[in-house]
C-alpha cells in the first residue's frame, strides 16, 4: 500500500542531507542541485499521494480519524514512559505534508537559478534537505516528544540557513539572534511538555487529545498561583509556539532572519517553519478548547495584537524582505486569532478550519511573494525599494505573479486569500467582536502596505539602472508560475469537508454581511496606496510627517530591539549572570578542582600497590577474598 511508502517522505530528505553533506563537495554544483530537486520532486509526489489517499480513500466513512502509519520505540524507560518515533496521519498533518512538500519543491527548483554560482552551493542543498526532513518529522510526529526533537532540528536548520553567508557579520548576528530567541521560547515549551505529560502520563497526541482521555476526560484539579496546572502547561507550550511563529513579544528574530538567502526566507520564514507554532496549537487544539479555554484566550489575544502590531510596522519599512517578514508575522497572528476564537466540533470549529485554510493559502502566496522578491533582488541587486521602481516592463512574469499574490493577501475575490480570510472574519464575528474589528483593521492595513510595496517596486519612478534588469531564468520563473496557480485555485478547495476540528465535515456559506465590507476595506487600502505611490509624489512624505513621532516609532519597530538589548545587557548580564558566573567559577569549579586534587593526591599515595611482584599480587588476591568473606559473614548475613 501507499502508506508503507510514507517512510520515504522522511527518509529521502535525510539521505539526501547525508549524501550532499558528506560527499557534496565532490559533486558538481549543478549535479547537486538537480539531485536535490529531483529528490524533493519524489517526496512531493509521495506526499500528494498519501494525502489524497487519506482524504479521499476508503477511510472517509464516518469522518477522518487519525491513523498511525508506523511507530517504534526509540527510548523505552518504563511501560508508562517511552519515547516513540512514528508517523501520524490526520487531516492537519496530511495538509501540512502537501504544504511543506510543495513549497520545498518550489524552493529547491528556484534555488538552482537563484543560488547559481554561489560558494557552498552543495552545502545549501544539504541544509535545505535537512530542513525538509526536520519539518516533515515535526509535522507527522505521533507524540509531543518527537515533535520537540524535530522542533529543535528545524531550529538548527533555520540557524544554519540564516547564517549561510557566514562571512557576513550581520548574517551571523541574525542567525544567533534567531536561535537564542527561539531557544528561549523552547524552554517554555519543554517545561510545558514536562508538566503536561506528568499529569497526563503520556506523550502521545492521540491519547492527549481524545475526548475520554486523561486530559480532557479527567482534568487534573491541581492549581498553581490560582490557575490550573493544565492552563499553565498549555500557556507554556504556546510560548514555544509563539517563539517559532514570531508572536509578540518573541517576534524580534524574524525580521533579522531575512539576512538568509531569499529562497530560505520563502521556505522557512514564510511558509513552513514559522507556521509550526500555529500547527502546534492546532495539534493540541481539543485540549486547548475543551480543557483550558483560558489558555486559548491568551492565544487569541496574542495573535490579534501581533497581527495589528506587525501590520503597522510593515507600512514603514523600506527593505522589501522586511516588509514581507512583518506581513508574515501579521498573517501568523491572524491564524492564531482564528484558532483562539474557535470552538470545537461541527460548525463551532469554523475558526480552526479557517486557521488551517489560511495557513494553506498563505503558505502559497507568501512563498510566491518571497520568491518574487528574490527575482527582483536578483535583477536589481538591492533589497531596498528606494532603489527600485518601474520594474514592470523589465520583469513581466515576476510582475504578474507578484500582483496576483498581493491581491490574494489583500483578500480580493476570487483569489485564495479572500476565502480563507473571510472564514476567519466570520469566525471572529460570531465569537469576539473586539478581535473581529482588529481583524478588519488589519486587513485594511495589509492591503495598503502590500500595494505600497507593489507600486514602489513596479511603478513609481522610472529609473536608470546600472545593469538593465532582466527576467529571471526558467528555473526561477517556473516555481513562480506553479505557486501563482496555487494562489489562484487554492481558495476553491473545500476545506470544511477535509480539515475540521473533529474530523467531521460541515457546510459553510458565505456571509455577505462580513464579506462585502471586508472586500471594500481591502479595496480602500489598495486605493489609498494607489493614490500615494503609483507615481512619484510628495504625498507619502507629507503623510509620514503628519504622523510624526508615531511614524518614527513604527519605523524603528517600536524600539523593541533596543528594549531587549537594555534588558539583557544592563539587567540580566549585570544583576543575574555575574553572580551565577561567580558561583559557577568558585563553587562548582572549586568542587571539581578539589575532586581533581584529591584524585591526584591519592593516586600518588597508592601507587606502591602495583609493585610488579606476582607474590604481592597473589597476597592481595587472597587477602581480598578473605576480607570480602569476612564482610559478608559478619555484616551482611548476620
Amino acid at each position: 500500500m501507499i502508506f508503507s511508502l510514507a517512510i520515504w517522505i522522511l527518509a529521502l530528505p535525510l539521505m539526501m542531507f547525508l549524501f550532499l553533506g558528506l560527499a557534496g563537495h565532490k559533486l558538481k554544483p549543478a549535479t547537486a542541485g538537480i539531485l536535490g530537486t529531483a529528490g524533493l520532486g519524489v517526496v512531493a509526489l509521495l506526499s500528494y499521494t498519501v494525502a489524497a489517499v487519506y482524504f479521499f480513500g476508503p477511510s472517509r466513512e464516518g469522518g477522518l480519524q487519525p491513523e498511525v502509519l508506523f511507530s517504534f520505540d526509540w527510548l523505552h524507560f518504563t511501560d508508562q514512559l517511552q519515547v516513540k518515533l512514528g508517523f501520524l496521519l490526520d487531516p492537519i498533518s496530511a495538509m501540512m505534508l502537501v504544504v511543506v512538500s510543495t513549497v520545498s519543491f518550489a524552493v529547491h527548483l528556484y534555488s538552482n537559478g537563484y543560488m547559481h554560482g554561489e560558494r557552498g552551493f552543495q552545502r545549501f542543498y544539504a541544509f535545505l534537505s535537512l530542513f525538509t526532513f526536520s519539518m516533515m518529522g515535526l509535522v507527522v510526529a505521533t507524540n509531543i516528544f518527537q515533535m520537540y526533537i524535530f522542533w529543535e532540528l528545524v531550529g538548527v536548520s533555520s540557524y544554519l540557513l540564516i547564517g549561510f553567508y557566514y562571512e557576513k557579520p550581520s548574517a551571523i548576528l541574525a542567525s544567533k539572534k534567531a536561535f537564542i530567541v527561539t531557544r528561549f521560547a523552547d524552554l517554555g515549551f519543554l517545561i510545558g511538555i514536562l508538566v503536561l505529560s506528568y499529569y497526563a502520563q503520556t506523550f502521545d497526541f492521540i491519547t492527549l487529545t481524545s475526548l475520554e482521555g486523561p486530559v480532557i476526560g479527567h482534568p487534573v484539579g491541581a492549581t498553581f498561583l490560582g490557575v490550573s496546572v493544565l492552563t499553565w502547561a498549555l500557556v507554556l507550550i504556546f510560548m514555544g509556539g509563539a517563539g517559532k511563529s514570531a508572536m509578540f513579544p518573541l517576534h524580534i528574530w524574524l525580521p533579522d532572519a531575512m539576512e538568509g538567502p531569499t529562497p530560505v526566507s520563502a521556505l522557512i520564514h514564510a511558509a513552513t517553519m514559522v507556521v509550526a507554532g500555529v500547527y502546534l496549537v492546532a495539534r493540541l487544539f481539543p485540549v486547548y478548547v475543551l480543557a483550558a479555554p483560558d489558555a486559548l484566550m491568551v492565544v487569541a489575544y496574542t495573535g490579534g495584537f501581533t497581527a495589528l502590531f506587525a501590520a503597522v510596522i510593515a507600512c514603514t519599512q523600506n527593505d522589501i524582505k522586511r516588509v514581507l517578514a512583518f506581513s508574515t508575522m501579521s498573517q501568523l497572528g491572524y491564524m492564531m486569532l482564528a484558532l483562539g476564537v474557535s470552538g470545537y466540533g461541527g460548525h463551532d470549529g469554523l475558526g480552526f478550519m479557517a486557521s488551517m485554510f489560511h495557513l494553506f493559502t498563505h503558505a502559497m502566496f507568501k512563498a510566491l511573494l518571497f520568491l518574487g522578491a528574490g527575482a527582483i533582488i536578483h535583477a536589481v541587486h538591492s533589497n531596498f525599494m528606494t532603489d527600485m521602481g518601474g520594474l514592470r516592463k523589465h520583469l513581466p512574469i515576476t510582475h504578474i505573479t507578484f500582483l496576483l499574490a498581493c491581491l490574494a493577501i489583500a483578500g480580493i475575490p476570487p483569489l485564495s486569500g479572500f476565502f480563507s480570510k473571510d472564514e476567519i472574519l466570520v469566525a471572529a464575528f460570531h465569537s469576539n467582536k473586539l478581535l473581529f474589528f482588529v481583524a478588519y483593521a488589519v486587513s485594511g492595513i495589509t492591503a495598503f502596505y502590500m500595494f505600497r510595496l507593489y507600486y514602489n517596486i513596479f511603478w513609481g519612478v522610472r529609473r536608470e539602472y546600472p545593469h538593465p534588469p532582466h527576467e529571471a531564468p526558467l528555473s526561477m520563473s517556473l516555481p513562480l508560475m506553479i505557486l501563482a496557480a496555487a494562489t489562484i485555485f487554492a481558495g476553491f478547495i473545500p476545506f470544511a469537508q477535509l480539515v475540521t476540528s473533529d474530523g467531521q465535515p460541515f457546510e459553510i456559506h458565505t456571509e455577505w454581511v462580513v464579506a462585502v465590507p471586508a472586500v471594500l476595506i481591502g479595496l480602500t487600502g489598495i486605493l489609498v496606496a494607489t493614490l500615494m505611490y503609483k507615481s512619484e509624489k510628495t504625498l507619502p512624505d507629507r503623510v509620514a510627517a503628519f504622523f510624526g513621532p508615531l511614524y518614527r516609532w513604527a519605523s524603528r519597530k517600536f524600539y523593541f530591539d533596543e528594549l531587549y538589548m537594555f534588558i539583557t545587557k544592563r539587567i540580566l548580564f549585570n544583576k543575574v549572570s555575574s553572580p551565577v558566573a561567580w558561583f559557577d567559577r568558585h563553587i562548582v569549579d572549586g568542587f571539581m578542582n578539589l575532586l581533581a586534587y584529591l584524585a591526584q593526591r591519592s593516586s600518588f599515595l597508592i601507587r606502591g600497590l602495583q609493585s610488579g611482584h606476582i607474590q604481592g599480587y597473589v597476597f592481595v588476591f587472597v587477602l581480598g577474598a578473605v576480607l570480602l568473606s569476612a564482610y559478608m559473614l559478619l555484616f551482611v548475613t548476620l
Binding site: 517504534f72 520505540d73 526509540w74 527510548l75 523505552h76 524507560f77 571539581m592 575532586l595 581533581a596 584524585a599 591526584q600 591519592s602 593516586s603 600518588f604 597508592i606 601507587r607 600497590l609 602495583q610 610488579g612 606476582i614 604481592g616 599480587y617 597473589v618 592481595v620 588476591f621 587472597v622 587477602l623 581480598g624 577474598a625 576480607l627 570480602l628 568473606s629 564482610y631 559478608m632 559473614l633 555484616f635 551482611v636 548475613t637
Partner: protein, 473 residues
Amino acid sequence: MQIEDFLLMRHEILLTLGILIILMADLFRPHGRESSFSGLAIGLMAVITLAGLLPVPQGSLFGGMYVSTPLFTLVKNVLTMGTLIVFLQAHSWMTGPLTLRRRSEFYILLMSTLLGMYFMISSGNFLMLYIGLELASIPVAAAAAYDKFRMDSAESGMKYILSSAVSSAILLYGISLIYGATGSLYFERVAAFYTGTPVQMLAFVLFFSGLAFKISLVPFHLWTADVYQGAPTGVTSYLSVVSKGASTFVLLVLLYTVFSKIALLWQPMLFVVAVVTMVVGNLFALRQQHMRRFIAFSSISQAGYILVGLAAGNQLGMSSVVYYILVYVCSNLGVFGVISAIEHATGKLRMDDYNGLYHTNPRLALLMTLSLFSLAGIPPVAGFFGKFFLFAAAAQQGMYVLVILATLNTIISLYYYLLVVKAMFINSNNTPVPFFRTCCVTRTGLVLCALGLVVLGFAAVVYQQMFDMSFGL
C-alpha cells in the same frame, strides 16, 4: 538425541571445525612456504559470525549440562564479532615481518579461548562452567607469551598463568563448598537450595572472587596492568574485550538465576566492590603514560560501572549490562585498533607520542576520540546511552548513593580520557607520528568499530531487543 539438537550447538561445532581447519592447514603447509593464515582465520570467523545470526531454537542438551537461549546466542554473537574485529585489526601485524614461525598458533589459541567462553556461557552445571573457564584461560596465557623472545611478553604470560592458577584454586574451592552445601552442581538444583546460610555465603564469595579475577575487579585486578602491557596488542585487546565481556555476562547470569534468592545479600557486596573498583581503576589510570597500561586501568574502572548496573538486579539492569558489553566491545576495540595500528607502523606506545596525531593522521585521531568519548560516556556516541541505562537501572532500585559515586567517578575518568584527546589535537610535537596508511583489512576493522559506536547510539532497536530478552530477579 536427534541430529537437530546439534543445531543448538552450532556456534561450538563451527568454531571447533574452524580450529581444526587452521591446524590442518598449518600441518599440511608446503615445506618452506611462509603463510600468515590471517585471511583464512578472518574468513572462518566471518562465516561463524554470519551463521550465528541465523535464527536458532532454544533448549538444553546432555541432561541440562548445556543450555541455549536467545540471549546466550546474542552474547555469543557479540563475542564472535569482537574476535573477528580483533583478527581484522591484527592483520597487518600478523602479515608483517615477525621473528616467529607458526603464525597459525595465534589464531588457534584465541579461537580455543573463544570456544571456552561459549561453553562457559551455555553451561548449566558448575563443572561445565569450570571447564569452559579453564579453556578460556590457559590458551590466553600462551597467547600473552606469544612474542616469547621479548622479555615482557614472556613475563606477561607467566604472570597471567600464575594468577590464573590461584584464582582457579579459589574458584574451585568455592564450587566444592557449593556442592557440599547443596548436594548438586546443576544450576537449577543449586538455585533451589540456596538460602544464604553462612557456608553457602562463604562458597558464594569464593566463587565470586574467582570470576572477579577474570573481570579484573579490585582487589583481584593486580595482574591486569602488567599482563596488558607485556602481551602483544592483539592479545591485550582480546583479553580486555572478549574475555572480560564473556566473564561479566556469566557473572550476570549466575547472579540473576542461581544466586537470585540471596540477592539482598550480594547487592551490598557488589556495592562495595563496584565503588572500590571504579575508584582504584580511575586513580591508577590518572598517572599512566604507557597506552596499554592506561587502557588496562581504564578497563578496570569500566568493569566497576558495569557492576553498578549488575547490582540493580532488575530487567533494566540485565539489559543495560548486555548493551554496555556490546558498546564496550566497540569502544575498546576502537581504542586498541588505533593503538595497534600506530604501534605497528612506528613502534610508539607512550601517550607523549600521540601529541599532534590529529595533524598527521586525522582519521585515526577521530576514531580514537570517538572511542574515548564513548568510554567516557559523552553523548551522542553509544557509550553515553550505555552508561545512562546502567545508572538508570541502579536509580530505579533506589541506589542513589551508588549512582552518585559512579557519576563522580565518571567525572574523574573524563579527565584522563580527555588527556589523550588533548594530546592528539592540541599538544604540539616536533616528531609526530608520520602519516601512514593502514592496510584495507585493518581499516575494515577500524571502520566497523566507528560504525558500531555511532549506530548503536541511535538504533534503539538493538537495545529494545536486548530488553525484551532480559529478565529481572
